[in-house]
Symmetry: C2
Subunit: 231 residues, 2 copies
């Protein structure tokens, strides 16, 4: 934690000095009843590494995190959430005065259509669970001027899905990786895609190093945006 503070101070002249960054991390949990939930294998490691890299680069960072076993960087403002709906609310509020939104969280696409008040008792051999779509957080955020970075974790057709998402959600950058090798792992490997550019491969490396590459890219995107605004 002392090292956290020292590195944050050193970063105060860094490429993200004065920049306000919101990072989402971890899985969400969508309850069926008071005990059971739908979730996913996201460990939060990529998001927490991005928080550290952004703070080291001088940014002030808000971390909005689902349940993980990790300890966040001591200089981050931390908001703990559980469901996709809670995460959506927290992000909407946090981006009101942010410059950059980095969505690494593995937000559930579907939640149980209804939540039972009491533990569902086993009875019949089969049970049908009705699921309904959650709010698409990245697509619902349209604050002008906000730099939006998304993640695509897929098990097949990685680059195709990532390009679709980049376009559909008007992202400035998307980080695409194979969910089966990346989720829960310390290893970092990804494609970085920007609108109208070729995909660029990063890694295999650590998630900490991949996070630094992404934060460098965010800094250069902010610089080129400021330059073009000045022209």
């Amino acid at each position: 934690r002392l090292m956290d503070a020292i590195r944050a101070t050193l970063g105060s002249n860094g490429p993200l000095a004065g920049v306000r960054v919101v990072v989402t991390a971890g899985p969400t949990r969508e309850p069926l009843d008071p005990l059971r939930f739908l979730s996913n294998r996201s460990s939060g490691k990529m998001g927490y590494a991005l928080v550290a890299a952004a703070i080291d680069a001088g940014a002030s960072v808000t971390l909005i995190t689902g349940p993980t076993a990790l300890t966040p960087h001591s200089e981050a403002s931390v908001i703990g959430v559980e469901s996709a709906a809670e995460m959506a609310d927290a992000v909407q509020t946090a981006v009101q005065d942010a410059d950059v939104l980095i969505m690494t969280a593995a937000v559930a696409d579907y939640r149980p259509a209804s939540v039972a008040e009491h533990k569902i008792k086993k009875s019949s051999d089969d049970l049908t669970l009705n699921l309904t779509r959650t709010t698409d957080i990245l697509a619902s955020i349209d604050r002008p001027g906000l730099l939006k970075v998304g993640f695509a974790a897929e098990t097949t057709s990685l680059l195709d899905y990532a390009r679709d998402k980049l376009r559909a959600k008007h992202l400035d950058l998307i980080v695409a990786n194979d969910a089966r090798t990346s989720m829960g792992s310390d290893e970092g490997w990804a494609y970085l895609l920007e609108p109208g550019k070729e995909a660029e491969e990063v890694g295999p490396t650590s998630k900490a190093e991949l996070a630094e590459v992404i934060i460098d890219r965010v800094a250069s995107l902010l610089r080129s945006r400021r330059t073009s605004e000045r022209d």
Copy 2:
């Protein structure tokens, strides 16, 4: 870990000296696809506390555990599992040479009827998930002479459900608690029920102390069983 070893040695003359105990702990995860799963709020704290209490009492302990954030007692043999089916297999094998089975794990009652090979992509607004029953582990174990301890975590009608489970699964002891206050918490509070006896309330206390009370009860059940065998 040194303290673990010292306490285990002190326990070698304890009430469970020479007794082989299998403890299950934590939640299970039932996959929908390579990333998503159904799970529950069990932290594993009660089970891990029982492992420590049993080793302190001189038992040799096998811990069969779902995914948790906890570090097991260093003197326990640990088998990590994920799904209810994996836990059922591990328990069936482990009880072959055990004297006591303590099932604290919150094993899923239902699993998705089929597991998708690739990440399920969001498409329609609604999705129906077909679930099917998992194997009832406690009911499927019928090794003669094995002392069986079950847990009932409920949100309503606690004692009624616990009595039904005690009878239906031929348990020697059941520990019944309110899932909403116990799951994930460090607090211990429960009813202990044996066949043909009044329920006995323990706590509120710590899970460590509740574990000691349960292990003491297991020791006395084993003693009275040996006495009656001798008669």
